[in-house]
C-alpha cells in the first residue's frame, strides 16, 4: 500500500464514519430518552435512499403508502384513546398524521425535477415514520423492560425489511450526487459529495449540541434521559420526549440515507448493516456519551476502510468483532450488580 491508497482509504473511512456517527447519535438519543434500542434506524436510511432513487427515476416511492397507512392507523388509535378518556396531544398528533403526510403526498404527486424538492419530499416521507412507529409500536409498551422493547425493535426491523423488499425490489440503486465538485489536494482527489457528507454530519452534531444545550425541549429531553419518573413529576410529558426523540431519529435516518445513496449502491437491506455499525460505534460510547459515540464511529469507519483493502471478505467480521474488546473493557470496570429496569 502506498501513501496515496492510504489517503484514499482514510478519506473513505471518514465519510462512512460520519454516516455511522449520525446513526450512533440517533441511537444514543433514542435509547437514553426512551430506553428503546432502535434497530429500525437503519431501515429508515434505506427507505430514504431508495425513495430518493425512485423520485429521481420519476416514480412515486411506495414509502408514501406506508406513511399514509401508518398515519391513518395512528389517527385511529389516538381517536380511540381519546374516546376512552386518555389525554391526547392533538396538535402534535395532527402534525404527524395529517400535515406532514399531506405535504409529502402533494410534493410526491408533483414529481419534482429539482434536486432540492426531491430532497425535501424524501425528508417529509421518512422523518414522520419515526414518531408514527413510536406511537404505534412502542408507546403501548412504554413501561416494558429494555429487553422487551428491544424485541419489539427487532420485530419492527423484520416488518420494515420485508416491506423494503416489497416496495423497492431486490435491485440496488444509486442517486445523483449533491455536488459534482472534484478537488485536487496534495495529489489526492476529494469528491464534493464526501465534503457534503462530512459537512452535514458536523453541522448536525452542532445543531444537536445547541438543541440539547440551549433549547427548553432539549433540556427536557436530557432531564427525561436522566430520570424518567422525576421528569414526569416535573411536568415533562413522556409523549413529548418519545415524539421528539423519534422524530430526530427519523430525520437523522432520512438525512443519512440521502447522503450515502450517491456514494454506494443501496439495497433494501443495506440499511440494517449501516445501522448496526452505528451500534458498534454507540456501544463504544456505552450508549450514553455522544462524543465517545462519534469517536467510535470514526474508528469503525477507518477499520472498515482498511479492512476492505487488506482482508476484504472479512471486513464485516472485523468491524463487528470490534465490540468484543470494548465490551470486555467495560465489563472489567463494572463491579456491582444492578437490577434491570
Amino acid at each position: 500500500m502506498d501513501l496515496q491508497i492510504a489517503m484514499l482509504l482514510a478519506q473513505d473511512g471518514i465519510v462512512n464514519g460520519a454516516v455511522y456517527g449520525m446513526m450512533a447519535l440517533a441511537l444514543v438519543l433514542v435509547f437514553s430518552v426512551t430506553r428503546v434500542i432502535f434497530i429500525p434506524q437503519g431501515e429508515l436510511v434505506a427507505f430514504a435512499a431508495l425513495s430518493m432513487a425512485a423520485l429521481q427515476a420519476g416514480r412515486a416511492p411506495q414509502t408514501l403508502w406506508l406513511l399514509l397507512v401508518l398515519a391513518a392507523l395512528a389517527l385511529v388509535v389516538e381517536a380511540w384513546r381519546w374516546k376512552r378518556g386518555a389525554q391526547v396531544d392533538w396538535p402534535s398528533t395532527l402534525v404527524w398524521t395529517v400535515l406532514i403526510p399531506g405535504l409529502a403526498s402533494a410534493l410526491v404527486s408533483l414529481r419534482p425535477d429539482a434536486l432540492a424538492l426531491q430532497t425535501l419530499a424524501t425528508l417529509l416521507l421518512v422523518t414522520p415514520l419515526g414518531p408514527l412507529l413510536y406511537r404505534l409500536a412502542y408507546r403501548p409498551l412504554a413501561d416494558a423492560t429494555v429487553l422487551m422493547l428491544l424485541i419489539v425493535s427487532v420485530a419492527l426491523h423484520g416488518v420494515l425489511v420485508g416491506l423494503g423488499l416489497l416496495f423497492f425490489g431486490a435491485e440496488g440503486s444509486r442517486t445523483a450526487a449533491f455536488s459534482e465538485l472534484r478537488l485536487e489536494w496534495g495529489g489526492m482527489t476529494i469528491s464534493g459529495q464526501s465534503l457534503v457528507v462530512v459537512g452535514v454530519a458536523f453541522s448536525l452534531v452542532a445543531v444537536l449540541f445547541l438543541f440539547f444545550g440551549r433549547s427548553i425541549v432539549g433540556k427536557a429531553l436530557r432531564a427525561t434521559a436522566m430520570n424518567r419518573v422525576g421528569a414526569r413529576l416535573m411536568g415533562i410529558p413522556t409523549e413529548l420526549s418519545g415524539d421528539v426523540s423519534f422524530a430526530l431519529a427519523g430525520l437523522i435516518g432520512a438525512v443519512s440515507g440521502l447522503l450515502i445513496a450517491p456514494l454506494t449502491t443501496m439495497y433494501y437491506d443495506t440499511g440494517f448493516l449501516i445501522g448496526l455499525k452505528g451500534f458498534v460505534a454507540a456501544i463504544v460510547g456505552g450508549l450514553a456519551s455522544y462524543p465517545l459515540a462519534l469517536a467510535g464511529a470514526l474508528l469503525v469507519g477507518q477499520l472498515e476502510a482498511f479492512a476492505s483493502f487488506w482482508a476484504s471478505p472479512f471486513k464485516e467480521v472485523l468491524v463487528f468483532t470490534l465490540i468484543i474488546p470494548v465490551l470486555l473493557w467495560r465489563s472489567l470496570n463494572s463491579h456491582h450488580v444492578e437490577d434491570e429496569e
Binding site: 434500542i37 409500536a137 403501548p140 409498551l141 416494558a144 423492560t145 429494555v146 429487553l147 422487551m148 428491544l150 424485541i151 419489539v152 427487532v154 420485530a155 419492527l156 426491523h157 423484520g158 416488518v159 420494515l160 425489511v161 420485508g162 416491506l163 423488499l165 416489497l166 425490489g169 431486490a170 448493516l273 448496526l276 451500534f279 458498534v280 456501544i283 450508549l287 471478505p313 472479512f314 464485516e316 467480521v317 463487528f320 468483532t321 465490540i323 468484543i324 465490551l327 470486555l328 467495560r330 465489563s331 463494572s334 463491579h335 456491582h336 450488580v337 444492578e338 437490577d339 434491570e340
Partner: protein
C-alpha cells in the same frame, strides 16, 4: 386427568401416529422438533433468565458445520482414518460442536453478562452476523456454496438416513431436553435462575453468583442450539450459511416469544405455529404480492408486535388457563427421606460480628455517610434510627455488600470486606431484608423462602436435571416451611408471594433471611405495614433469635418498637452518628431530641 397425564397422552399419541403420518407431515414435524430445541433454550434465556440472544442460529450453525466438517473433510479423514470408524465420525462432530460452542458462548457471555441486559443481545447480533460472513468466506467450509455429502447418522448399525427414523430420535431428544429443563427449574438451582430476571440484587444477597448463573444459562441455551444443528446437518445431509443467518436467529426468538417465553412447552407451541405458518405463507404470499422473497417476515413481525402488546406472556399461558379448567392439580411426588442441610456454628454471644470503621459514602458532592463507626455483637439487637434521608439505607447497602464505601472499612466475622460482592457477605453468615420488598411475585411464598437457604444446599445443575437432588430439595423445602411457621405464615406457603399484603411480604423477607441460618441479620424497616399484634409477634421472634445468639441490626421508624426491643441504638442524622448507647441513654440525648423534635423551627411549626 392431571397435566402430567395429558403430556404423556400427547407423547403417546404422537408416537403411535408416527408410522402412519404422510411424508410431508413428518418433514414438518422434524423441523418443529429441531426448532423447538433451540426455542427451549431461548425460553430458559429470555422468559426465565431475563436475557436474550439473536445469535442462536449461529450456534445452530456451529453445530451443523462442526459435524459437516468432521464427517467430510479429507484432512480429518486422513488424520483419524486408522483410529475412528466412519460411523463414529458424527459423534466426534457433535463433541467438537459442543466444545467449540461452550468456549464461544462462555467467552461471549462472560464479557457481556456483567453489563446491563441489552449488551448481550447486541453482542449476539454482532456475533450472529460475523459467523455468517465467516462461514461464507472460509474456503475449507465450502464458502457460500456450503458442504454436501454429509453421511447419515448410524446408531448400533442401523442407518437413520430415513427422515422418519431420524425424526423419532429428534423428538426423543427434544422431550428428554424438556424433561431435564423442567427438572432444573424445579430445583434449588432453578430458583436461583428465576431470580436472574428481576431480582439480581436480592439473589446476590442470598449468596447467588448471578453473573455466573447468567453465563451458565446462556451456555446451556447455546448447547441446545448445537444439538439442533447437529441433527439438522444429518437430516439435510448438506449445509450452507443461509439457515444460520441473523434473520433466522430472530425467527427463533419469534418462536419463543409467540409461544410463551416463560414456559418450556411454549417453545414447542411457538416452533409449531411459526413453522406451519411459514410453510403456508411461503405458498400464499408470493402469489398474493406478485413477487418472490422472504415476505413472511412482515407477517411474523406484525404477529410478534400483536402478541407482545396483547399477550405479553405469549400464547401458552392463555392455552394453559383454558386447560386448567379441565385438569386436576398435580399430586405431589412421593416423599423421599430429606437429607440434612449444612449448619452454621454461631459465634459466642458478645463477640463482635459486624463492624463499620469510619465508613464514608459520597455520591458526587453529596456525603450520604460520613465516617460512620458502629458494631453489632452476637446475641444483641442493635437499632439504627434517624430521620428520613439520614443515610440509613445507604449504610445498610454498604454493610451488606450491595455497594462499596468510598472510604472506611466494613469488617464481617473479623474479615475485611472491601471489594467483596454481596454474595460473599451471605456466605460468611450475613442475611438481610430490603426496604422495598424484593420477592419473586409470581412464585410461591415457600419457594421465595427456600431461595434464602440456597447456599445450604450443594446439588448442581446435572443432579437437578436428572432428579438426583430430591432428598436435598425436600430438606430445603422443609427448612423453608419451618421458617414460615416460625414467622406465622405457614398457611400462605403455597400462595403466590405477590398475593399477600405488603406487611406480610416483609415477613416473607424475614423468613427468607432466616432460611440461610444467619449469624448476622439486617432488617430494613421490618415493622412497617404490620398491625399491632403482628408487631408483637415480630418482637417475640426477634427476641427469640437474640437468645439463640444471632446479631441483629434493625432500621426502624416505629420508636415504641425500637425502644422496647433494642439493646443498643445508633442515631444517624445527615449521614453522621449523632448519638449511640442504650435506649434509655439515647432517649434523653439532647441532640437526638433536637433531630427528631426540633432544630428546624419552620418544620416544628408546620407540624404543630
Amino acid at each position: 386427568m392431571t397435566s402430567r397425564r395429558l403430556t404423556v397422552l400427547f407423547v403417546a399419541a404422537l408416537a403411535l401416529a408416527w408410522g402412519w403420518l404422510p411424508e410431508y407431515s413428518i418433514t414438518l414435524l422434524n423441523y418443529i422438533g429441531l426448532y423447538a430445541l433451540v426455542a427451549a433454550g431461548l425460553v430458559m434465556l429470555t422468559g426465565v433468565g431475563g436475557m436474550t440472544s439473536f445469535g442462536q442460529a449461529a450456534f445452530v450453525g456451529l453445530g451443523a458445520y462442526a459435524t459437516a466438517w468432521v464427517c467430510t473433510s479429507a484432512v480429518v479423514g486422513e488424520a483419524l482414518g486408522g483410529f475412528v470408524a466412519p460411523a463414529a465420525l458424527p459423534w466426534l462432530g457433535l463433541m467438537l460442536g459442543l466444545a467449540l460452542t461452550s468456549v464461544v458462548a462462555w467467552a461471549l457471555g462472560s464479557i457481556t453478562l456483567k453489563l446491563s441486559g441489552h449488551y448481550l443481545p447486541l453482542g449476539t447480533m454482532a456475533w450472529g452476523l460475523s459467523l455468517y460472513f465467516l462461514f461464507g468466506n472460509l474456503e475449507f467450509l465450502g464458502g457460500y456454496t456450503g458442504i454436501s455429502g454429509i453421511p447419515p447418522l448410524t446408531v448400533a448399525g442401523v442407518s437413520l438416513a430415513e427422515p422418519r427414523l431420524l425424526g423419532l430420535v429428534i423428538w426423543a431428544a427434544l422431550l428428554l431436553a424438556l424433561w431435564a429443563l423442567h427438572n432444573l427449574l424445579d430445583s434449588r438451582e432453578g430458583r436461583a435462575i428465576r431470580a436472574l430476571k428481576t431480582s439480581r440484587v436480592m439473589a446476590e444477597s442470598m449468596g447467588v453468583d448471578t453473573a455466573r448463573y447468567r453465563v451458565k444459562v446462556f451456555v446451556l441455551a447455546a448447547l441446545l442450539a448445537v444439538l439442533s444443528g447437529w441433527f439438522y446437518a444429518h437430516l439435510q445431509r448438506f449445509v450452507n450459511p443461509t439457515p444460520f443467518n441473523l434473520n433466522v436467529g430472530i425467527e427463533y426468538l419469534f418462536m419463543a416469544v409467540v409461544g410463551g417465553a416463560g414456559h418450556l412447552w411454549g417453545a414447542v407451541l411457538g416452533a409449531a405455529l411459526i413453522t406451519l405458518l411459514k410453510a403456508k405463507l411461503q405458498d400464499v404470499l408470493p402469489q398474493l404480492l406478485g413477487a418472490t422473497g422472504n415476505f413472511e417476515v412482515i407477517v411474523f413481525g406484525l404477529l410478534m408486535l400483536f402478541v407482545l402488546q396483547r399477550f405479553a406472556q405469549g400464547l401458552w399461558p392463555s392455552l394453559a388457563r383454558i386447560a386448567q379448567r379441565f385438569l386436576k392439580p398435580e399430586v405431589p411426588a412421593p416423599a423421599v427421606v430429606a437429607s440434612t442441610l449444612d449448619q452454621r456454628a454461631l459465634p459466642d454471644a458478645g463477640q463482635v460480628v459486624l463492624e463499620a470503621r469510619a465508613v464514608t459514602k459520597r455520591f458526587g458532592g453529596l456525603v450520604a455517610n460520613d465516617a460512620v463507626t458502629m458494631n453489632v455483637k452476637a446475641g444483641e439487637i442493635h437499632a439504627l434510627i434517624g430521620p428520613n434521608g439520614a443515610g440509613k439505607s445507604t449504610f445498610f447497602n454498604m454493610v451488606s455488600g450491595v455497594d462499596d464505601p468510598t472510604s472506611g472499612e466494613v469488617v464481617l466475622m473479623e474479615r475485611a470486606m472491601r471489594g467483596h460482592p454481596a454474595r460473599d457477605f451471605a456466605l460468611l453468615g450475613l442475611s438481610r431484608t430490603f426496604q422495598h420488598v424484593r420477592l419473586l411475585g409470581t412464585r410461591s411464598v415457600l419457594e421465595n423462602v427456600a431461595l434464602g437457604a440456597h447456599r445450604r444446599g450443594r446439588s448442581g445443575w446435572l443432579a437437578a436435571m436428572l432428579r438426583l437432588d430430591r432428598a436435598q430439595e425436600l430438606a430445603l423445602r422443609n427448612e423453608a416451611r419451618r421458617q414460615l411457621e416460625r414467622c406465622g405464615l405457614a398457611a400462605h406457603a403455597d400462595a403466590p408471594a405477590s398475593s399477600l399484603a405488603l406487611g406480610q411480604q416483609r415477613v416473607i423477607e424475614i423468613a427468607r433471611a432466616l432460611a440461610s441460618q444467619p449469624a448476622v441479620l439486617l432488617l430494613d424497616e421490618p415493622a412497617a405495614g404490620l398491625r399491632h399484634l403482628e408487631k408483637q409477634a415480630l418482637a417475640t421472634l426477634l427476641r427469640q433469635l437474640r437468645a439463640e445468639g444471632v446479631g441483629i441490626l434493625v432500621v426502624e421508624h416505629d420508636m415504641e418498637f425500637v425502644m422496647n426491643l433494642a439493646d443498643r441504638i445508633t442515631v444517624l442524622e445527615f449521614g453522621s452518628v449523632i448519638a449511640s448507647g442504650t435506649p434509655a441513654e439515647v432517649s434523653v440525648n439532647p441532640r437526638v431530641l433536637d433531630a427528631y423534635l426540633g432544630g428546624n423551627e419552620a418544620w416544628t411549626e408546620a407540624a404543630a
